[in-house]
Structure formats: structure tokens, C-alpha cells
């Protein structure tokens, strides 16, 4: 197992270099000159060359990559072309907001997903199971950006219970865990939780049904264990896989939050990506994607390591 873990951790290094190279390539597959968005149309050739040099676009690609990667390792993701500020600072500020929202959504999705999945798996083929399974199909099929709009229509525009957009009263400002701020998170977090809820419900249903069909459960029943006792056994057996799926879902939400953040004007990485794309600010796009992908890779690694160490049934060589 130790060897597996070591190999797994070491294997993350080439993956990360590959991911970084992909992010680096993004600038080069984008059509047109990356400096076009800051240069005035009548810029002199000298000014153009000066800026090319400043951003390093005049050197061969492998040098550019090595240079860029080395600085990225030190936390320097370059300078945003549109704002002139450091990309790292901008991304770090936004990542906090995205992380907060995604964690909340994963938590909601996990709680309700395991609840539905558990009930469905326990009363398999009953009407409860059918309703829960139907809900989970709806959960994975709904275009979540549309669901966000519908929730805004119902709870903001019609009932006026909750704010529609933003992350706090009066536009910007620091986040705080009071109702004045938290109410801004309710709709986006619920919207975001729908996909993990559906996926976790499906997983838990299959797990519970599988476990209940195993012989040791019959043995426990024969031994005279109460339903509660059996329930605890099922939970213990289902937990590692369910938690692993939850971890992966958090990673997907972090990377996929852009659509929901756009609907709710949530000031996270999605918002940053959006402005980077439309201002053709390639360093910002590159940096944000790199940070989010790194989160995803590290989260995957953590899930794998935790699952291997926690679940003695998993044999890895």
C-alpha cells in the first residue's frame, strides 16, 4: 500500500507538468496577438516590440514555457493584461469565494443525496425508490444555469424572499457569516448542489442495495441485531465510497462553477474567467484555469490516498 501511495503521489508530478503545459498553450491557440487588447490600434512598432519583450513573447516557446512554469511554481502567474494587477492576487481573492460556495453546495448535495439514496436503496423497488431515482435523474439532467434562473424568478422576483445576485449587501465588501451575507449564498448553493445530489443519491442507492444483499447482513439479522444495528453496519460499509464520490464532486463544482457564478454574479473564479475571456486577457485566463485544475488534481489525489488508507478492503499494488 505504501508503494501504491508513493507511486500515486509521484505520478501527480508529470500530470501537473502536463496540465501546466496545456494552460500555457491556451495563449498560443488563441487567435491574434495576445497584446492586442492593451495596444492602441496606432501603436508604434517600437512600443509593440517593447511590450513583446516585457511579456516575453519574443523568445522561443520552450523558453517561454520553462520561464512561465518556474515562476508559476513560485506563485507568480504573471500580470493581468487588462487590469495590470498580479494574476495570483486576483485569482486568490476569487478562489476563496468559489471554494466557499462549492463546499456549501457539496455539503447540501451530500446530505440530501445520501438521504435519498439511502432510503431508495433500503426500500428498493418500492414507490420511495422510484421517486428518489426519478429525482436523481432530474438532478443530473437539469441545465443548472437555467435552474438558477428559475429559482431567482421564484424566490427573488416573485416571492422576494432572497436576493438574486451578488455576495453581500451593498455590492462588494468583506464576507461575514451573518444572515445579511449568508442569504446571498442560499440560491446559488442550492442550484449548485443539484448535480452532486443526483450523483451521490445514485451512488449511495447502489451501494446500500449491494451491501444489504450481502451474506453478512443476513448473518447479522439471524444473530438478532436490531434494524438500527444493521443500519450502522451499512453506513460504515458505504461511507468510504460515498465520501470519495463527494470529494470528486467538490472538484467538479470548483471547476464548473462559472455558469452558476454568472447567473448569480457571484464574485468567484467563474466571474474572473468570464471577464478574462471577454477582455481577451490571456494571462488571467491561463492563471485561473491552472489554479482550478491544480485544485482538481490535488483533490483527486487526496481522495485516492484517503480512500486507500481508510478502506482496508481496497487492495492496491
Amino acid at each position: 500500500m505504501i508503494f501504491y501511495l508513493l507511486r500515486r503521489i509521484v505520478y501527480t508530478i508529470p500530470i501537473m507538468i502536463g496540465v501546466a503545459f496545456f494552460c500555457f498553450l491556451l495563449v498560443h491557440i488563441s487567435p491574434g496577438d495576445p497584446l492586442v487588447s492593451i495596444l492602441p490600434p496606432d501603436a508604434s512598432i517600437e512600443l509593440q516590440q517593447q511590450l513583446m519583450k516585457l511579456y516575453g513573447f519574443d523568445r522561443p516557446w520552450y523558453e517561454q514555457f520553462a520561464h512561465w512554469f518556474w515562476r508559476a511554481l513560485h506563485g507568480d502567474l504573471g500580470t493581468s493584461i487588462a487590469s495590470g494587477r498580479s494574476v495570483s492576487t486576483e485569482v486568490m481573492r476569487a478562489v476563496g469565494n468559489t471554494l466557499m460556495l462549492s463546499c456549501m453546495a457539496t455539503l447540501i448535495g451530500f446530505l440530501f443525496g445520501s438521504l435519498f439514496g439511502f432510503v431508495a436503496g433500503y426500500f428498493r423497488d418500492s414507490w420511495v425508490d422510484r421517486v428518489a431515482s426519478a429525482l436523481s435523474v432530474l438532478g443530473v439532467s437539469v441545465p443548472h444555469y437555467w435552474l438558477g434562473m428559475v429559482l431567482v424568478i421564484i424566490f427573488s422576483s416573485q416571492l422576494m424572499w432572497l436576493p438574486a445576485t451578488g455576495a453581500g449587501p451593498g455590492g462588494s465588501g468583506e464576507w461575514a457569516w451573518d444572515w445579511a451575507h449568508v442569504q446571498f449564498m442560499v440560491l446559488p448553493a442550492i442550484t449548485m448542489s443539484v448535480i452532486p445530489m443526483g450523483i451521490i443519491a445514485r451512488t449511495v442507492r447502489a451501494l446500500v442495495a449491494d451491501i444489504l444483499a450481502q451474506e453478512f447482513v443476513v448473518g447479522l439479522r439471524a444473530k438478532g441485531l436490531t434494524d438500527l444495528g444493521i443500519f450502522l453496519h451499512v453506513v460504515k460499509n458505504a461511507a468510504p465510497t460515498a465520501l470519495a464520490v463527494m470529494g470528486l464532486q467538490l472538484g467538479y463544482l470548483l471547476g464548473g462553477s462559472i455558469l452558476i457564478e454568472t447567473v448569480f454574479s457571484w464574485p468567484g473564479t467563474g466571474f474572473l474567467l468570464n471577464s478574462a475571456i471577454f477582455q481577451r486577457d490571456m494571462p488571467l485566463l491561463q492563471g485561473t484555469i491552472l489554479v482550478l485544475a491544480t485544485f482538481f488534481v490535488v483533490l483527486n489525489l487526496m481522495v485516492d490516498v484517503l480512500q486507500t488508507t481508510l478502506d482496508p478492503r481496497i487492495q492496491r499494488s
Binding site: G18, P143, W146, I258, I289, A293, N300, I314
Partner: protein, 301 residues
């Protein structure tokens, strides 16, 4: 639950990637099972209607989907002459939703189709060849797999710029590694089967073995997996247009329509939500049909 991942370990290969041994009457059996499945029939009927609507959109629309009217902007559902209301430029919603079926279905299905062809090739080759070829190709694919799909799609189409072609290209690149992984895993399983060994022993060339013995048994499961991606692709493709990265105005496409109507959620909320209903119906139907197809092809049950 199959959660054993390889050392690659970025994510486990999706379930349902078992080779299907081809036997006489297998496909007619699958069709017979589907015909007896009310869910599959319902979902199939909805999709067939949508496809017919897409093909005959120009003959079916009640009015010109492009005709604007500044006086009749954002009219409610049931307004005279606008059965489903009108959009922010006074265009007939019903006609635009109907014509929108064309681009929305096209944008959702095409990337999966292309990725099915390319991804199968990219996956079957290393699956059959094994060894160094396998390591090289599959580890490269792992890198693309290290991105969440939404992020990868947005990164690519964000860098390439808005447009139908770029959105299709980005989505295709998103789905190739997913399909290739399934293809590789099924092919690796088939490669070890007795009939492949027998063919090799009797002197069949690798090309013949792949064509005769491998393809027939792996394409089915890969296809089923690909169909499960169509719903995701529909949502993602419309999502790209929703962000302004896909179809450009004034063409009707459901994601783009949602985007342009977003400002109308306070004035005409239910009209603004309509394009999303279409995306939802389409993606549920694809999901249900794909689930039914999977269980119909599951020989064990």
C-alpha cells in the same frame, strides 16, 4: 461498486465498460427489450418529435422567427399572435424555440459523434497494442482528464474565441479522452479473451483481429457510454452559448436565448425560462434513453 482506479488514478473508468460478446440475434434482442420498455419508448418519442421539428422547422414555424417588432417586445404567454409570448426584440418565442431545436441538437450531438469516432480509435489502438504505446497515449489522455469537463470546455472555447466551430471543437476535445478511456479499458479486456488468442495463433494479422474480433465486441459498450454523454453535451453546448461563447445572435439557440432573456426575468419571467425547459426536456430524454439502452444491453440481467 467498481472504484478501483489504475495508478493513473485521476478518476475511475466509468462503469458499464464491459465488452459485449456479439452473438446472433443480440441486437434484435436489445431492440425487442427497448420496445417493451415504456420509459425508453416515451423518451424515444420525445426525441423523435424534436428531431422531426428540427428537420421541418422552416415548414412548421407559425411565423418568421427573425421578424422583430419594437412595439410587441416581451409579451406574455398567450398574447395574441404569440402563443408562447415574444422575446426582448419582439420575435415570436414559439417559432424561435422550434427553429432553435436545429442548432441546439446539432451543437449537442455532433461533438459526441465526432468524439465517438476519434475516441474509439484513440482508445482501441493502445488497448490492443498494450505496452509502451498504451503508456504513451493513455498518459497523455490523463492530462486532459485532469480537468473538470466544464472547465476544459470553457478554457478551450474561451481561448479560441466565440463561434459555432470553436464551441464544437472544444466540446469534442472534452469528450475524446472520456470515450478513449472507456474504449481502452474494454479493448484491453477483449484482447485477453480466448477467441482473440485463437485468431492470433491461427495467423490472423493484427488488423484482421481488430476488424473482425475486437471492433464488434467493443463498439457496443463504447456506443452506450457515448450516448450517456449526449445529455451532458447538450447542457454544456447550451451553456457555452449562454456564456456568449457559442452560437451568435440572431440565430436561435436555446442557451443563447436564455442568455439574452436573462434581463427579462423581472418583466416576463415565464417567457424567459422557456428555452431552459427545452434543454431540460431534451437532456432528460437522452439520459433516460441511454439508461434504458444500457440495461437492455446488459446480458447478465
Amino acid at each position: 461498486m467498481n472504484m478501483t482506479s489504475t495508478v493513473a488514478g485521476i478518476a475511475p473508468v466509468p462503469a458499464a465498460a464491459e465488452p459485449v460478446e456479439r452473438s446472433p440475434g443480440f441486437w434484435s434482442g436489445v431492440v425487442r427489450k427497448l420496445m417493451r420498455d415504456p420509459v425508453a419508448l416515451g423518451a424515444g418519442a420525445v426525441l423523435l418529435t424534436l428531431i422531426l421539428m428540427a428537420i421541418f422547422a422552416h415548414q412548421l414555424v407559425p411565423s418568421d422567427p427573425y421578424a422583430t417588432s419594437m412595439l410587441k417586445r416581451l409579451k406574455p404567454i398567450g398574447f395574441e399572435g404569440f402563443p408562447l409570448g415574444s422575446d426582448e426584440l419582439g420575435r415570436d418565442m414559439l417559432s424561435r424555440l422550434m427553429l432553435g431545436t436545429r442548432l441546439s441538437l446539432f451543437m449537442g450531438i455532433t461533438p459526441v459523434l465526432i468524439a465517438f469516432v476519434i475516441g474509439s480509435g484513440v482508445g482501441i489502438l493502445p488497448g490492443y497494442a498494450g505496452g509502451l504505446v498504451n503508456t504513451l497515449i493513455m498518459r497523455t489522455i490523463d492530462i486532459l482528464y485532469a480537468f473538470p469537463s466544464v472547465l476544459l470546455a470553457i478554457a478551450l472555447s474561451g481561448a479560441l474565441g466565440a463561434g459555432i466551430g470553436n464551441a464544437l471543437l472544444s466540446l469534442t476535445i472534452v469528450f475524446i479522452p472520456q470515450i478513449a478511456r472507456v474504449a481502452e479499458s474494454v479493448t484491453t479486456q477483449v484482447r485477453g479473451r480466448d477467441y482473440v488468442e485463437a485468431a492470433r495463433a491461427s495467423g490472423a494479422s493484427p488488423f484482421t483481429i481488430v476488424r473482425v474480433h475486437v471492433l464488434g465486441n467493443v463498439l457496443g459498450p463504447i456506443f452506450v457510454f457515448a450516448t450517456s454523454l449526449i445529455a451532458v453535451s447538450m447542457i454544456l453546448a447550451s451553456g457555452l452559448s449562454f456564456l456568449g461563447l457559442g452560437v451568435r445572435p440572431p440565430e436561435p439557440e436555446w442557451g443563447l436565448m436564455l442568455n439574452t432573456l436573462r434581463t427579462a426575468i423581472y418583466t416576463q419571467p415565464w417567457v424567459a425560462a422557456l428555452p431552459g425547459v427545452m434543454i431540460f426536456i431534451t437532456s432528460i430524454s437522452f439520459n433516460l434513453l441511454s439508461d434504458s439502452l444500457r440495461s437492455a444491453m446488459d446480458v447478465k440481467s
